[in-house]
Symmetry: none
Subunit: 194 residues, 4 copies
DNA sequence: AATGAATGAGGTTTCATTCAT
DNA sequence: GATGAATGAAACCTCATTCAT
């Protein structure tokens, strides 16, 4: 079980996304995923330690590139405000680009047991760290309030965009998510007050 | 099954909260709940239609008054800003008051994929309506920006407080949640910017 | 548990017939019977040893009088052929008179476990004895073939009338059962052959 | 679940017959059947949809050919009387050939109240049709009385042989059932009368 | 490497019966 | 005698995982 790669590794992950999106978390049996991936049940276990490993790997693979792509776009030449807008926009853009994945991460994987959710949180840490960096930079450059609580601010950013994506998924992804990036960015930076 | 009778009804609900908080949603077998409640397995079914009915009732009993209590405190003599602070404070206060319950509602019950989620959404709907009312009032009284998007603002408020509570629960409720109400209120109203 | 009587004893038996006829053998719970009888569940056990005892008692009470009434009508002044006709006619007549009971004895009680069926057979013995007596008398009086096998002949009589009643019940008792007594009597006595 | 595969399918059916004959219908748990068949509980469900499917399949496999075999022996060169004798003889012969199966079909499976009874009736329908054909032929060829009522005559034949087999099973199959075919045939054709 | 038949642990719910009142 | 709340044993089926081929 050297983990990774071979084409089947990805086949199985894609199959898992498809099956979970289609049938829901609790109806995504290993045998269904194997069938969708075009491999035998047993083959799954040549590439993954167990079922949970499929799901965490799925999340790792998808979110690994998720954060990577955002970082790539947050270039040094941007102002801190622009960087935050890029983060929000890219968050929305990537999920809008793969609606099946959005269903899986926003709705289905959250039904998983607490253990799996802890691992997911582990993976999310890279994202939260990125947000923290932006916040620290913003305070250093005196664009943000000096007394801004990093942890709270991070939870506000993540909680807000996550809730917005979840609502979008629950409304069947039928409006333009990316278009919301600007007003959300505006609300976060400047608040509600006139 | 005339529902809500006797002390046993409450005993069983309390036992369910305890067991779910302790062992997690998927390890909360009826027999465990019965044992904790000090009744026989079969007795559960004199008071509840089935296992899901225990959970639904638990949520109803415990969270049914959640929104009501917040509404009661949002009196007419308060400014819109104060009202929003009351909403956030009461949200935190109520969950802080029963940490076991917070674990159950923030983490465990979300693993269900059944009627229970509909019930949870039902409760939430009342809460979201309340937020909407505050937003509309805020705009009318010109405390809030006239172009504030109600839906987005509502998702920001709810997403933020929910994320904060969830993080607090995952950190074993070991810091003062209520103390966060003011800075959160401040961030939402005035944003991050200096 | 002195068994018998008190008005409730009969109440419970009648309730059992009603409930079994209406809901079927496997859906005839003790609590349902108790409710129909207008007594508490526990009261059943003041009059019957257990559930099986209700059913055997039901059968005893109903079949006890069943055979008794037939015997009463088989008077000495009748020829053996007439006596056999009376037996068949009375068998049909009594079941036609109480269709609910017919459903219970022909269809529902036959779903009972083997133990109960053995007890039912015990009770049926009185009926089979009566048939045997007629057969013996018929041979003695040289109306019946001397080599007629009593056991087989008895099984033929009982098997035939029982099958005919069962078919009648399964066709919702919607034709005149008693009218079949004569042709059946004729077939049994004289056979099919011209 | 493509049905009917491998040796295990038959193993399980045979085990079901054995267990039901030995312990009775209501004490024939899936786990007991699995143990007797030498497979794991779960294996049962690779070959059968559910428990009832075991019983239905059992009946189909074992009794499906019952009528077919009788028909095969009722050749055109036989007189109508001989044909009736073949029918009775084959009925007895087939059940006598597998006493365990006779216990199962005459006593145990009749305790079911489900699709299984419908399946049993389905098989019976083919049998009853065959009897009807003989009766019609007998009347056409003027061996049987012209006023013979087909339905009653059919019920007499079936009721008689079924009752005789059931009695034989309840007496532990300890006498020769096939030997009874001739006297039964004689009784049915010529009746009791001298 | 790939297969897929086989495994077997585990949990909700029913209902006959009891017994304190 | 009468009640009815409480009991608790018992079983079908699913599905993640294994391992002989």
């Amino acid at each position: 079980m050297g983990k990774k790669k071979g084409p089947k590794y990805n086949q199985i992950i894609e199959a898992a996304v498809t099956i979970i999106a289609k049938h829901g978390y609790h109806q995504a049996q290993v045998s269904k995923i194997a069938k969708e991936a075009g491999v035998a049940d047993g083959t799954i276990y040549l590439y993954f330690k167990n079922k949970e490993d499929i799901l965490t790997s799925l999340f790792e693979e998808k979110m690994g590139s998720f954060v990577g792509k955002i970082r790539d776009r947050i270039t040094d030449d941007l102002s801190i405000e622009e960087k935050l807008l890029v983060l929000i926009s890219m968050h929305f853009e990537q999920l809008q680009a793969d609606k099946q994945l959005a269903i899986v991460t926003q709705l289905e994987l959250r039904q998983s047991n607490t253990d799996l959710r802890l691992k997911i949180n582990e993976i999310l840490k890279g994202y939260l760290t990125l947000i923290d960096e932006l916040l620290t930079e913003g305070k250093e450059k005196q664009f943000f309030k000096p007394n801004l609580d990093n942890r709270l601010a991070r939870q506000m950013i993540f909680g807000t965009v996550d809730e917005i994506v979840t609502n979008w998924v629950m409304k069947d992804c039928k409006y333009d998510l990316l278009a919301l990036a600007k007003p959300v960015h505006q609300m976060i930076l400047s608040g509600f007050r006139v």
